[in-house]
Amino acid sequence: MEIKNIKSSDIPAFFNQLIGSGKVVLAPVLKKSGKVFFEPVQAYSQVATDYIQTGFSAKSVVFPKVEVLFSYTKTEEGIELKDSIADIPETVVWGLRPCDGSAFNYMTEFFLKENPDAYYAARKEKTTLITVSCAKADNACFCTSVDLNPGSTSGSDVLLTLMGEDTYVEVMTPKGKAAIDTSAALFTASEEKNKDEYLAKIDVKFSMEEIKEHIKTAYDSVEWKNVSMGCFGCGACAFSCPTCSCFDIQDEGTQNKGQRLRCWDSCGFGLFTKHNSGHNPKTNQTERRRQRLMHKFKYSVENLGIVSCVGCGRCIRVCPAHLNIFENILSVTE
């Protein structure tokens, strides 16, 4: 790790230099709806700075809502197949939060550990994550309960922490170094500083160690019904989640022309577990929501050694029923 300093007033110049480097730059943009989403931008003036969290996470940069795996065209000579990996652009994600940065650790384990996924690998390789620490939080934020904090560097290539006139820069990876080097003159060496006073204060809602222990026997808790009956069965939580990575492979087209797609899917949907025979092992929303929460706090720990909830709070903010994951996980592990 390398520590640098940049004048906060020089941030726009650094940002615009990144755009000048020819990469796609995704940054938070304030939409008419009042929500903030990552979008490709052309100048720093488009970037939202006053936001707690983006509506959706940055996962779409490595796991798009629809990924074209390949396309085919029938010609007189035969069938022409086109692999889409070559089209993946070099991308910088700017302004994601430390929780989202750490979410990439899980995504990488999920997509690359057992059966490495070429599309994810190519996208991740071409992505640089420039994260900005949180100075503000809301009552849905709970990163401090899942062993992270508003200034975590884990998973990010660069972490920027605004400290008034100066911005503290933690350069974590060679990709991060390359991003900084696009504006080398703007960065000066810095000694290590304590970031705490510049970070949001977020209460610890639960002890991760206790949850990990108690969730081992939580499957049969009668509380699942209480915490899940309100679930409407939509995919808002899964689609906004930075680590939900389930997908549905779809073929679209005709016999002459078409494509194979990988689309976001959600365990909250009734169709998610429906078998071809018509049998559905998950018959109600209580079982589906239990699956989602158990996956975050138990199954992903068993399978990949990682709690796959980063405490970003999005599922709480978007839930039409305002269901609260940390409140629910406490109820079922009591």
Binding site: C234, V318, H322, N324
Partner: protein, 267 residues
């Protein structure tokens, strides 16, 4: 205990209800729909202006249909949904007790749907000022502009189907998007398929939507999707003089035929 909590506890104790669908407060301070099973849980029951959710959606849940006697805490949108659902013969088997708080902050327990209908007609909600303004803006656009507006909006849709999930009138046990043989609407989320989905949904709800606005309020992307059906309701009212969620007995405009209707094709 609040008067509402006392009343609901009484309903549990005298056996009128065995399940109460209401709201309780959560750590995030936002009301959460909750299914109360005993009088002892009722102390958590709340009903505040933030309780905007339309709890009538839950009447379609298999677990609720199985419960013998259901209590339902209703805001005005929920009451309107109940009226519309009744007119569509969707609530026949459920033995329900509906409660609300009136403008004087008194607990009202409805004896039957006729009483709900009277209450709804006396307190019929207007379109919000914000929605009126948005609809005016949309109607002032040219067709091309309006097409562009909705194309832009729906390009961001991720097909989470939250709009469908929270809609009390979206009660089909199997939705058209869940049919894959043949596949009417693409599973993937992209602009044309998203438009296809939202157009299908709007057409299906034309003259049935009860204007609760939940689909627009909860869209995680912030698409004002409720405006589509809100406009259609205005059109239906203009053409057929029919208000949605207004009468338990009138059916809905696009599903009924009257001898005096001006259209000739059906005769």
């Amino acid at each position: 205990m609040t008067p509402l909590q006392t009343k609901v506890a009484e309903l549990f104790e005298n056996g009128t209800i065995t399940l109460m669908i209401g709201f309780k407060s959560a750590l995030t301070k936002l009301p959460v729909p909750f299914f109360f099973n005993t009088a002892s849980q009722v102390e958590q029951l709340i009903f505040t202006p933030e309780c905007k959710g339309n709890l009538s959606v839950y009447l379609h849940k298999p677990e609720v249909k199985q419960a013998k006697k259901v209590g339902l805490l209703a805001n005005i949108s929920t009451l309107r949904a109940l009226v519309q659902l009744t007119s569509e013969n969707q609530l026949g088997d459920i033995e329900k007790t509906v409660l609300t708080m009136n403008a004087q902050n008194e607990v009202v327990v409805f004896e039957n749907m006729d009483e709900v209908e009277v209450y709804v007609q006396a307190n019929f909600p207007e379109y919000s000022e914000e929605d009126k303004k948005l609809l005016e803006q949309l109607n002032a656009m040219t067709r091309t502009e309006r097409w562009q507006y909705w194309t832009d909006q729906f390009s961001a849709c991720v097909k989470c189907y939250a709009c469908r999930a929270v809609c009390p009138m979206c009660y089909c046990s199997s939705c058209t998007v869940e049919c894959n043989q043949p596949q009417w609407i693409k599973v993937s989320s992209e602009t044309s398929g998203n438009l296809e989905w939202h157009t299908t949904r709007a057409m299906h709800l034309a003259g049935r939507c009860i204007n609760c606005g939940e689909c627009g309020r909860i869209c995680p992307v912030g698409i004002p999707v409720h405006l589509l059906t809100a406009q259609m309701n205005l059109d239906i009212e203009k053409e057929f003089g029919a208000k949605t969620g207004f009468s338990c007995h009138s059916g809905y405009a696009l599903n009924t035929f009257k001898a005096g209707d001006k259209e000739q094709f059906i005769k």
